[in-house]
C-alpha cells in the first residue's frame, strides 16, 4: 500500500521550475513550490477553474498563497482519484489514516479555499467522526477554542444539559 501511495505521489510530476506549457496548469503553493497538473484536475478545483476562465485560459500559472506544498499533493491526489471515479470507502479510509488532526483541518481549509465540494464534504465528515462523542474539553483543544463562559455560566449550562453528559468517550491523547 505504501508503495502504491508513493508511486502516486511521483506521478504528480512536481517541478520547481515553471516551463510554460499550454497543456498543463501550474499551481504555486504558498511556499513557492510549483505543481504541474492536467487541466482536468484544475476543473475539480472550482476556484482555479474560474480563475482560468476569467482570463480566457491565457494564464495557466495560478498562485495559491493559502495552501502549503505539504497539503497540495494530498488535494491533487484526491482530485485525481475523483476524476478516475475511484473514490471508494477503502481509498478514503487510507487517505485519512495518514493525516493527523492538524493536517485534516489544514486540508479542510484548502478544500474550502479551492471549492472542491466532494473533498470538503468528506473532510467535514472526517472531523465530525473524530470529535463524535468526545468531551467538551477535548473539542475545545481540538479546535483551539477559548472557553469564554464564566465558571458560574458554564456550571448552570452543564446542569441544564446534565442528561447529555452520559456515555462520553474518554479523551484520547491529543495528537496535534
Amino acid at each position: 500500500m505504501a508503495e502504491e501511495v508513493s508511486s502516486q505521489m511521483n506521478s504528480l510530476s512536481i517541478s520547481e521550475t515553471n516551463p510554460s506549457s499550454s497543456a498543463t496548469i501550474s499551481l504555486v503553493s504558498g511556499d513557492d513550490i510549483v505543481f504541474k497538473v492536467e487541466p482536468t484536475i484544475a476543473k475539480e478545483m472550482e476556484t482555479v477553474q474560474s480563475f482560468i476562465d476569467e482570463t480566457d485560459g491565457k494564464i495557466t500559472t495560478i498562485p495559491l498563497p493559502n495552501i502549503s506544498s505539504h497539503d497540495l499533493p494530498y488535494v491533487i491526489e484526491y482530485c485525481e482519484k475523483s476524476i478516475a471515479g475511484k473514490i471508494t470507502k477503502e481509498f478514503e479510509a487510507e487517505f485519512v489514516k495518514k493525516l493527523n488532526n492538524e493536517e485534516v483541518k489544514e486540508l479542510f481549509l484548502a478544500a474550502n479555499y479551492l471549492n472542491i465540494k466532494k473533498l470538503l464534504d468528506f473532510l467535514s465528515q472526517v472531523i465530525a467522526d473524530r470529535i463524535a462523542n468526545k468531551s467538551v474539553e477535548y473539542v475545545r483543544r481540538y479546535f483551539g477554542i477559548e472557553n469564554d463562559f464564566t465558571p458560574e455560566e458554564e456550571a448552570k449550562l452543564r446542569e441544564e444539559l446534565a442528561w447529555t453528559f452520559t456515555g462520553v468517550d474518554p479523551d484520547d491523547e491529543d495528537e496535534n
Binding site: L12, I14, S15, F108, L109, F143, L157
Partner: protein
C-alpha cells in the same frame, strides 16, 4: 521532483510548533451539523459562540436536513396502560432484529399528562391529552409539542371542550406541516359512526398563533374506526388524506364509492381524489391508504391477495397510479 519523504515532513512539523488551524464559523457549522443531537446539546458548553450557533434557527434547519438522510423509526409501546414513544435509527433494525426498548421515563407519556401520540414531523412529536368531567360529560383536550432528541416540550396548548354525549362520537387528530408558511398544524376530525346525516367536523390548529379554526364542507364521510389507527388520515407533502365514502345516502341505486379526501394544509381546502381506475370494490372490503417512498398508496386486501397502487405524482389521480 520535490516529494517530501514522510519522515522529513514529520520532523519539519515538529520543529515548527505552528498555531492551531482556526476554522471559520461556516465550516464549524458544517461539521457540527453532522453530530447527533445529544452530543450537539453538550457542545453548547464549548463556548458562547458555539452555544449561539447550535441554537440558531438556520443551523437547526441544516442539521434537520442532514438528519433526514438517516431515517428514524418511532415505536409506541404500551406497558400497564402507560404509552412510551421511543425513537431509534432504522439502521439498528438491520443490525439486530431484536429490540430492547429502554424503559426511560423521558420517553413515557403519562408524566407529560398526555395519553397518545398524534404524529411526528421533522423530529417534532405532537401529543394529545384529555380530562373528562364525569358529571357534566364535558371532555377537555389539549396538545403538547415535544422534541424527544432535545427533550424540550411545550406547555399544554390548544385547549378545547367538547360535550361527550354520544358513545360513538369521537375526535381523531393528525399532525402535519405547512411548507408555505413553515407552520406545524394539527387537524382534529370528528365524525359520528353509523350516523349518515351528521356533518363531519374538521378543525385546524396552527402552532404559532395557537388558535383552532373550523373548516367546513368535508365532501364525504370519512372511513374511521373508533379504536385503533387503521383509517386515520395520512400526512404527505403538506396535505392530510383520509379514505372516505362518497355521500350517496338517500339514493336507492347507490353503490358505495370510495374516495380519498385530501386537505391542503396551506390553503386549508379539501380536494377529492378517485381510487385507481382498475380498482373495483367487489367483496365489500374497505380499501386503505398509506404513504410509502414519499408517495400516496392505495391498497386493499382480498382474502389471499393484497393489491397496492402507488400515486407517482401526488394529486394526479387519473394517469399516474402505477399498479404493483
Amino acid at each position: 521532483m520535490v516529494t517530501l519523504p514522510p519522515k522529513l515532513r514529520c520532523r519539519r512539523r515538529k520543529s515548527k510548533p505552528s498555531p492551531l488551524t482556526i476554522l471559520s464559523n461556516d465550516l464549524i457549522a458544517d461539521i457540527l451539523s453532522r453530530l447527533t443531537v445529544k452530543h450537539l446539546m453538550q457542545m453548547k458548553c464549548v463556548s458562547k459562540s458555539w452555544n449561539n450557533l447550535i441554537s440558531d434557527p438556520i443551523f437547526i434547519k441544516i442539521h434537520l436536513h442532514r438528519s433526514s438522510l438517516n431515517p428514524q423509526f418511532s415505536l409506541i409501546s404500551s406497558h400497564n396502560d402507560d404509552h412510551s414513544f421511543v425513537p431509534f435509527p432504522v439502521t439498528r433494525l438491520w443490525e439486530n432484529r431484536r429490540i430492547n426498548l429502554p424503559r426511560d421515563p423521558c420517553f413515557q407519556l403519562h408524566n407529560k399528562n398526555c395519553y397518545d401520540v398524534v404524529g411526528s414531523c421533522n423530529g417534532l412529536v405532537c401529543l394529545v391529552g384529555y380530562s373528562l368531567n364525569v358529571i357534566t360529560r364535558y371532555k377537555k383536550f389539549w396538545l403538547r409539542f415535544w422534541n424527544p432528541a432535545t427533550r424540550a416540550i411545550s406547555q399544554k396548548l390548544g385547549f378545547f371542550f367538547y360535550y361527550d354525549r354520544y358513545k360513538y362520537e369521537y375526535y381523531k387528530f393528525m399532525f402535519g406541516y405547512d411548507n408555505s408558511t413553515e407552520t406545524y398544524k394539527v387537524v382534529a376530525l370528528r365524525s359520528v359512526t353509523n350516523h349518515p346525516l351528521s356533518e363531519t367536523d374538521v378543525k385546524v390548529f396552527s402552532l404559532g398563533d395557537n388558535v383552532w379554526r373550523t373548516i367546513h364542507g368535508f365532501p364525504a364521510i370519512p372511513l374511521q374506526l373508533h379504536f385503533g389507527h387503521e383509517y386515520d388520515g395520512v400526512h404527505l407533502s403538506c396535505t392530510i388524506n383520509w379514505m372516505a365514502i362518497q355521500d350517496v345516502f338517500g339514493r336507492d341505486d347507490a353503490v358505495e364509492q370510495y374516495v380519498i379526501i385530501s386537505l391542503d394544509l396551506s390553503t386549508e381546502t379539501f380536494t377529492q381524489l378517485m381510487p385507481p381506475e382498475n380498482y373495483d370494490n367487489y367483496g365489500g372490503i374497505s380499501p386503505n391508504i398509506c404513504v410509502l417512498m414519499d408517495s400516496l398508496c392505495f391498497s386493499y386486501d382480498e382474502e389471499a391477495e393484497f393489491f397496492i397502487w402507488r400515486m407517482t405524482k401526488f394529486g394526479d389521480e387519473k394517469s399516474c397510479y402505477s399498479e404493483s
